[in-house]
Amino acid sequence: MSDMLRPLVIEQVRIVDPARSLDAIGSVIVADGVIIACGADALNQGRPDGAAVIDGRGLVLLPGLVDARVFIGEPGGEHRETIASASAAAAAGGVTSILTMPDTNPVVDDVAIAEFVMRTARDTASVNVFPAAALTRGLKGEEMTEIGLLSDAGVRAFTDGRRTIANPALLRRIMTYARDFDALVMHETQDAALSGDGVMNEGLLASWLGLPGAPAEAEIIPLERDLRLAALTTCRYHAAKISLGESVEVIRRAKQRGIRASAGVSINHLSLNENDIGEYRTYFRLSPPLRSEDDRSAMVAALADGTIDIIVSSHDPQDADGKRRPFAEAESGAIGLETLLPAALRLHHAGDVPLRRIIESMTSAPAALLGLDRGTLVPGRPADMALVDLDAPFIFSEAAIHSRSKNTAFENARFQGRVLRTFVAGRTVFSATETSGG
C-alpha cells in the first residue's frame, strides 16, 4: 500500500504509448495510482515531494498489456489455474488487464457468476480482471444469456469461449439483440462438424502422422457466415482467434465493406506453425490448430497492416495429465500470459512488425475494443504500466512459470525482451529483481 501513497517517478525512460503515437525519451509521474504526467516534458513542474524515483535509462515503459482471451480454472478447475495464479502469471508478463473466458464450471452465464469472478478478483488478483460472459446459457448454443443485465453488471464482452454457435438463426438473434446494448460479440469460428475429429492442420504432415486433420474451411465457412450476419445485424463483431491467411482476406474484405468487425490472433499462431508439433508434441496441440508457415507469415503481415486488430495470449492452462496423452487424446491449449510480450517482441526484433504497432495490438487496441480506460499512458488514466528491457535475452524455463499449469508452447525458448516490473494503478505487482526499489 505504501506504493500507492507515495508518488512515483520513472525518469529518462523510452515511453512507447501507441494510443497517442508517442515514442520518446521522457518521464512519467504517478500519484494516487493515476498518471499525472507522461512524456518528454513531464518533469517541467519538477518531481512531486517524497516521490520514489526509478532510473529508466536504457529501458522502455509501455502501457500495461490488455489480454482479451484468458482461460482460467476458477470456479471449478482450480487445480489448473485460479484467478490469483492467472493474475500472478499476467503480472509477470507485463499484462495488467485480462478478459477471462466464461468456460468455467459453472459457466459465466449469469450475473451471479460474473460477480463471483469480479469479487474473487478484487480479493485475490493483483491485475484487473474483466469476466467475459457466455453468449448462450451453459455454452450450449441453444438459449441466449441475459446480455443486458450482464452488461449492466460490468461485462465487457460476450463469447462462447472455445465453442462456436452452430445454429445461424440463433446467432442472428443474439447479434440483433446484442446490438441494442452495443455489446461486443466475440466468436470463435470453427465448424465442429467440418473439423470432425481433426486435431491438427489438415495436410501432408497430419497425413504422415496418421492424425485426423481439421481443414481450413472449418474456420473460413463460419467466419464468412458470421460476417454476413454481422452485416445484417450491424452488431459489434470480433473474430476471436483466426489462424489462416485466407481468414485474413475474409476479414479484410468485411472491413472494406464497412462491417463493424475486428479480429484477434493468438501469439502462438504468430510464432509457431504445424511443423513445431514434430512427433506428437502435445503442448503444440492448439485450437484452432497450428497452420502452415504461409498462414503464419500472412497473419504477421495482417497484424502489421492492421487487418488483424489484436494479439491475445489465449492462455489456456491444462494440467500435466491432460497433456501426457497420445496427441489425439490430449487436451488442447497452451498457457501464454508470461510469454505474450517476449514472443511478440520477436516480430519487432525480426523487423516484421513495427514496435509501436505490436504494442498497440496488445494495449490500446484491445482496450478500445472492450471499452476500457486503459492501455495508454495518457495523464488521468490508471497507472497500469510495464517497464521492459527490450533487448535483454533470456531463456524461458519451466521453473520460472508463475501459472499453476506448465503447458507452455515456449519451453526453453530464447527470447529477447524482458519485463522488469509491472504496475497496476501505480502499485508494483511484479518485479523481476527481488528488490522492490520503489
Binding site: E202, G203, L204, A206, S207, W208, L209, G210, L211, P212, G213, P215, E279, Y280, D321, R324, R325, P326, F327, A328, E329, A330
Partner: protein, 317 residues
C-alpha cells in the same frame, strides 16, 4: 548367445516405425527374418535366444492375429510371454496409458509389444519405460512389422523389391499398414501406387511418394504386387463410400480387375479380410494369393525384430 553373434548388432532400441529405419536396417531385419522362416518349419521350433527374457504384449486395441503372431514369435525364441489385453477393460483414456506403462515397467520386462488406437501412443509409451518397445500398430500412423513381413513375402516370391510396381488399394486414409508400406517400399526402391476413392485418401497423398489413382484399371496396370487394405465396417455404409456393393464394384479385387495386373502378380492382404467387400473369395483363395504366406512370414519377422532388439549379449542391451 553364440547363436546370434553372427548377426551384426542392430543399432536401435525400439521399433516404432519404418520412418525411423535406414534402408540397410530394413534389409538387415528382412535378412534375419529369412533365417527365422526355416526355424518355423523345423520340427523343433524352439530357440533359446531370448531365454529368460520377459515379453509383454500390451494390446489396447483387440487383435487376435497380431497378438498371436507376437506371442508365438516370443515363445519360439524362448522368452516368457505375457499377454495384457486392455482393449476390453474399462481402461481407455490416455492417462492410463502412462500409468499402465509405469506399472508394467516396474515388472522389469525386456520387451513390450504395444498396439494402441491412437497415433503416437506407442512412441509416448516408449519414452516412459526402460525396455525395448515394438509398435504393433498405433492408430493410423504405423505398423512396421506388417510392412516388414509384406516385404519378406514379396522378396521371397519375386527375388527383389527394387523396381517392382506395388499397388496398394483401398482405405489408405485410415491405414497404418499403407503408411508403413509406402515408407518401406520406397526405401527399398519399389514403385508404389495407391488406388482408392478420394474420400479414402489422405490430404497431400500425392506428395507421399506414391502414384495416385482413382480407378483400379489405371492403378493395377503392370502391377507386380496388389496389396488390398481392409475397409472397416463402419465406413462402408454411406460415410466414406455409399455402399458395400458399390465399393466392391469399383474397388473390390475380382478376377476381371486382377487380369489388369501382370499375370504373375501377387495378391496380398494384411487381414482380417472382408470377403466380398475389398476382395472376392476366389481371389483370396486363388493361385496368386500369398495371404497365408504373409501370416507365416509374420511370425518370422516378429522373431527377427525381437531378436535384433534384445537378442544380443546382456551388456549390449
Amino acid at each position: 548367445m553364440s547363436a546370434t553373434s553372427s548377426f551384426p548388432a542392430f543399432s536401435q532400441r525400439h521399433l516404432l516405425g519404418i520412418a525411423r529405419l535406414r534402408p540397410h536396417e530394413i534389409e538387415q531385419l528382412i535378412d534375419l527374418a529369412e533365417a527365422e522362416v526355416a526355424v518355423g518349419r523345423r520340427r523343433d521350433k524352439k530357440k533359446s535366444t531370448l531365454k529368460g527374457r520377459t515379453q509383454i504384449n500390451l494390446f489396447f486395441e483387440a487383435s487376435t492375429r497380431t497378438q498371436a503372431s507376437f506371442e508365438l514369435a516370443g515363445k519360439r525364441l524362448g522368452a516368457d510371454v505375457m499377454n495384457m489385453s486392455v482393449a476390453n477393460s474399462s481402461v481407455k483414456k490416455g492417462e492410463t496409458l502412462i500409468d499402465t506403462a509405469m506399472t508394467l515397467n516396474a515388472m522389469r520386462p525386456d520387451i513390450l509389444v504395444v498396439r494402441h488406437h491412437s497415433a503416437g501412443a506407442v512412441a509416448l509409451l516408449a519414452q516412459k519405460v526402460a525396455c525395448s518397445v515394438v509398435n504393433a500398430g498405433d492408430g493410423a500412423h504405423e505398423h512396421p512389422t506388417q510392412a516388414l513381413l509384406d516385404a519378406l513375402t514379396i522378396r521371397r516370391r519375386k527375388g527383389r523389391i527394387a523396381g517392382l510396381i506395388v499397388t496398394i488399394c483401398g482405405d489408405v486414409l485410415h491405414s497404418r499398414v499403407a503408411r508403413s508400406n509406402i515408407l518401406l517400399l520406397n526405401a527399398l526402391g519399389a514403385q508404389v501406387r495407391v488406388v482408392a476413392p478420394s474420400t479414402l485418401l489422405p490430404r497431400g497423398v500425392e506428395q507421399m511418394g506414391v502414384e495416385v489413382h482413382r480407378r483400379m484399371a489405371d492403378g493395377l496396370k503392370d502391377a507386380d504386387v496388389v496389396m488390398m487394405l481392409r475397409l472397416q465396417r463402419e465406413r462402408m455404409a454411406g460415410s466414406f463410400v455409399p455402399s458395400v456393393r458399390e465399393y466392391f464394384r469399383y474397388f473390390g479385387l475380382d478376377s476381371d480387375k486382377l487380369k489388369i495386373a501382370k499375370p504373375d502378380a501377387l495378391v496380398m492382404h494384411p487381414g482380417p479380410m472382408n470377403r466380398g467387400v475389398e476382395i472376392a473369395s476366389e481371389i483370396a483363395d486363388g493361385p496368386q494369393s500369398v495371404i497365408e504366406e504373409q501370416v507365416e512370414m509374420g511370425v518370422a519377422v516378429r522373431m527377427a525384430v525381437m531378436e535384433a532388439l534384445i537378442g544380443g549379449p546382456e551388456d549390449a542391451v
